[in-house]
Symmetry: D2
């Protein structure tokens, strides 16, 4: 199906087929979040039946997946004040109050995250066809910074537990998830995916790396979406999609020489919000138990002005 | 009412009256978030009527409120890759893909945030009566780190727009909000505050600092909760409370020599999650327009292991 | 002398007169540090007569000159481990050893520093005529990173205490130091400036900001070198030059609309290493006392790969 | 010689034998740097014969030795402005000036460094017998911060190339360098070590890790000083000592359960400045070639207020 020797051709064709450029006007900064409307939020909120809530974030700490590649470290969290200081009375405060403060330094892509619309370019063009050099400078994303998404990412989510349905728990590394696998999973769950949904694709790899470690490079072999799902991502008019892997798409990628070709379609051409390194383990177990694979989800990026991504603590409620 | 010369006595008395130590067992790490249960989440979700969503976060950038006090800076956001680089082909990627990544360094208390349970101590004791030195070391909060809150902060929120009701828009700096003001505001709104609610107290100061700037020190004079509200915070069994000011409580504080005495009751003794520097402007305008002052709220802290606070993008949905 | 309305013309003329492009070959990465040779080091070392040493660095801490302009903060220094933790035995080490570690986050231009050759461009060209976009990307300076200077900045330094000689102690803000002032000062000191020297120009402003504070913006009005000294900087074949001010050249600049025009000549065209925010107070007092204004100086930048500047602790020995 | 089962006993004995507490008064903040006096500087400066200079620093970048242990990462260096931006005219400056700025976040112990006097404690005591909790809080070293060393670390250095003399180039990992090895090396070099000298001990391990990589943990097996050299470090009255390894002393340490026991003597008891991860390769080759193993050295820590260590670019001149 895929000509492994021609990534450029495949990308050009998929970009042409899947482009949403201009769909929401020349000034658009939201991409497919435009599909996530008030009606969809009402539909999502109606899914809160039990009131059970789930965090879909990994913990942010020194045990995370990063090993320094491309200057991506794990978060470095340090204290400005501590309880040990407080009991020694070193803090200079009156009437017995003591305090602790803290600081963090981290790549915005270090763990559970959203990729913003400025994160990936296709042949020099950012989302909506804008010249990349006019969008992301050293001062950050001047146009489509993640802050624009701040109020929007709350709606109906659908969990597609491909790991369980197709893989019997976990998909092996290098497994390319196709439209067929997605359809088969949705059918097994008895759930439909449509316009404005936030799709959560569980591969099960996170359970594996928790057992075995991330290894030298979190971007190594992993299950993930096949490049061939580009048209499904476009056609379904979903608002956003996230996986439990480092890089969303299958690794190694499906061309002989390639780096994340599906990103090149999904972000700058479709305008799709991509989530990576989410943790679906607890939610997926709950869904398997009660048979309901849709829920209310809020996954609000920090409105860091000009950021091309954001750490996030997505909270699902059923 | 308040003996301005005796903060220590007032604090000791309020701590004795308001303590929740042991209420949820010796191992508790959640404090008043225990009040926010599944039933409350169902009640909150039922408030999603129109599907309108609001971000209650300020933007995280160099224009924020911090000026360096206690090493608190505004966020420093830098790019690891840019669009300008991408168009020059400097990035070394194949098939026309380009990318931008970014990094942030910031105090966790720099802007819209939650104070975690390890943020404040009362005479050497942290939440639940634990010795402060056993809770927060230079390695972070070993017991009550903000990561424990990750799935919990989603439920019913009540906006008390004291600025509008009492102040005709904005409360002046130094204005101490009392129980009476809170009750008067709730009555004017036709809304009740009860167990498990997340209370949002709008003073209107944020509108003012947007016009006039934060000045030299964001912790300077501001409206905020009176120390006398401690028993109300305890008695109402609310799950969390947030204001639109730097420091939640009135500044200057109500004792001659004091530093944030209400924090000293609220966090270590009541176990209450406090939010600061939230932005209620858009939500409050909407509530004033439609007359409904309660809503669904998700305000999920980043699960930074051992953190005593977290930046947050709270999203309200009505 | 200066046509205040024509910075572009003045810059073009000075660049043409002062260019060292190609002087040390097409691959040069050192600029005027090429003048600082072994003979000059021998000459400098011979100036160590008493063995007295002086640090010419300001302290790096939260009380520094930065207020956030262009994301330049003061250093944020935090501890990974502390003595308070150690005495509580929280560190997990055997046999009574305890430790403290620390972390820093800082702009490389936040305090006493060297500007590297990649710091400034003239009409799109970096040092030696290279296209700026081929030199400094988001990955840093790919050609002339400060690491190349690592072994070189040790030699003879000459202090020109213009503040004392011309200003009677301190020059007023906005005072433009001309060739005439430099010559007059050298003559008063009985010292000569020549090829390979590191020139230290004391304005005395640092003494003033220590009394009065840096104010809102360290780049505000200050004494400094006149744009007209460009040809002197070139002709004298000095290796490097530093001042005790934020910006080396006089502020406000001498054109109606301008931003650091002398930098635009000195760095990309002359290839000159510029130092800023150095502290000459103690050294200058010593020189005034003993009448000797030259000394041995080591001012070794940290070899941060690809950096366009570096914090530095220059040490003078007399 | 060493009872591997009794580190505590050996440490107590060595601490008693080697203590310099009170030697320079109760207020001392310099330790053995007191030995480095003006006479020693004159002696050192006289060693500048050829004027050849050498940087003894590794490069500070993402390829450094750190892998995240104890939150120690390699430096993260990012750009605030770039040349690619400049040529696009994105920077907003007049008359064709463009600029690049940068930022760094790094542990102060990440690469070539000095350990300050507050870095290590012995049974709750810091240098000069001070209680550790009174010296290093979360606000940094309140007494012996590295800033106090700022003008002092310039003097005579002696290279002891134990790797060449004893190891034929490189010492194997786990090799414990004894007094005998140090004496043998000095004799082979024809050089004497005495009061106020800065001693540079080359093991050759850096050459090896450059070939083979640092591996998972830079603190793994390495050659280094034997615990038994404690009395030599004290008796010789050297001012400072540095090695080309992660941890100065032999790894694994020479007790069954131990962590850096020689540090526990050297820093808090002797008051000795320790250097780690220095790069002696070029200097050592030069010394081997010309037979002179002493030189002038300036190794000036950044005066980061309250720091317990500092990155450094030591510059040797012969």
């Amino acid at each position: 199906m895929i000509d492994r020797t021609d990534p450029a051709g495949a990308i050009a064709a998929a970009a042409a087929d899947c482009s949403n450029w201009g769909r929401w006007g020349a000034d658009d900064v939201l991409g497919t979040l435009n599909f996530l409307d008030a009606a969809k939020r009402r539909e999502g909120a109606a899914l809160v039946r039990r009131g059970a809530s789930f965090s879909l974030a990994q913990r942010f700490d020194a045990d995370g997946p990063q090993r320094g590649w491309r200057r991506r470290t794990n978060p470095v969290h340090t204290m400005l004040d501590t309880g040990t200081d407080a009991v020694f009375g070193d803090q200079g405060f009156p009437h017995g109050i003591g305090g602790a403060d803290d600081v963090i330094a981290m790549p915005l892509q270090c763990s559970t995250q959203w990729d913003g619309l400025g994160h990936i370019f296709d042949r020099g063009k950012a989302w909506n066809g804008r010249p990349a050099e006019r969008v992301v400078t050293a001062a950050g994303d001047q146009v489509t910074g993640i802050e624009h998404c701040a109020p929007h990412v709350a709606g109906r989510a659908v969990l597609l537990d491909v790991g369980r349905v197709v893989g019997g728990g976990e998909l092996p590394d290098g497994f390319a998830i196709t439209e067929q696998h997605l359809a088969e999973t949705a059918e097994a769950h008895g759930v439909a995916v449509g316009r404005g949904d936030i799709v959560l694709v569980r591969t099960g790899q996170l359970a594996r790396v928790r057992r075995d470690g991330w290894g030298e490079y979190a971007g190594g072999p992993a299950p993930g979406l096949s490049f061939t799902t580009a048209r499904w991502l476009h056609r379904t008019e979903i608002a956003a999609i996230a996986t439990d892997t480092w890089g969303f798409e299958v690794r190694p990628n499906e061309f002989d020489e390639a780096f994340q070709p599906l990103h090149q379609i999904a972000i700058p051409n479709i305008g799709l919000l991509l989530g990576e390194m989410w943790d679906f383990e607890e939610l997926a177990a709950d869904c398997a138990a009660d048979g309901r694979h849709d829920c209310w989800l809020t996954a609000a990026p920090l409105p860091i002005t000009g950021a091309v991504g954001s750490p996030v603590n997505p909270v699902a409620v059923k």
